[in-house]
Point group: C2
Chain length 147, copies 2
């Protein structure tokens, strides 16, 4: 099955990145301002993007400063049952984030779109932790007719 | 085998995008300023990124305003023998670019890095054709300790 893979590095400490991935306020500051729910292990986080809908993510793994993993429990059909994870590591004074969105059944055009869009959102997270300001929806980078 | 997939849309006509993909000057304006060689079908284009090295790409397919495909003939070991392609389509007044970099043998961290980096370079191409100015190396967006 095809996966979406990304790697970014931030010049901040792992706890800052972990905070951006495990708190509703942190997530709202780089992915979508319309983020609600329970970001603790076992909880469900609701990410919404206006008319484009959104995703419900169940938090299936959290290890401080090391790993965050979600299962998609609601959203576009192609996303349901897929898994999103962020693995953190330290390298050359950077906090590295290895990102995976796995479990796609087919490499549809929407997957290609999501791959590019994830990259721009991960860059938004990098900006957030490095400068204090990300670019979450509805201020996100527009990449195409699909936003 | 894992692939890197992306999708962007530009508000320009397909011929502008095709030009950015099939001329040395066009490629130098969004990927790397150090681009040389022969961008015609069967030719080899040499893309260089300073100390980070670079890639030689053989042009294996070109269909005006529709498709461009390259085979990597020299560069990092992980890239040699892989294929890069750009398929163009029209949708909602946008020129869509479906990008693939396929043939990776393993989903190594370097592949994750290249996936994110391709996204930022495709956004550089979008900027180039829409505004006249892209962000090619050495002015490219830095995403991590690996540049």
């Amino acid at each position: 099955m095809p996966d979406i893979l990304h790697r970014i590095g931030t010049t901040t400490t792992p706890d800052k990145v972990y905070d951006a991935l495990t708190t509703v306020d942190g997530l709202a500051a780089w992915w979508t301002a319309d983020t609600h729910g329970d970001a603790a292990p076992g909880g469900t986080i609701r990410f919404r993007f206006g008319d484009a809908g959104g995703f419900d993510m169940k938090v299936v793994d959290q290890r401080p400063n090391e790993r965050v993993a979600w299962e998609v429990t609601d959203g576009p059909e192609e996303w349901i049952g897929t898994h999103v994870s962020f693995d953190l590591a330290q390298e050359d004074g950077y906090t590295i984030v290895l990102f995976k969105h796995e479990g796609w059944r087919e490499p549809v055009d929407f997957m290609s779109h999501c791959s590019t869009k994830w990259a721009t959102f991960l860059m938004s997270m990098k900006q957030l932790v490095e400068t204090g300001a990300g670019a979450p929806h509805p201020e996100d980078v527009q990449i195409s007719n699909w936003h």
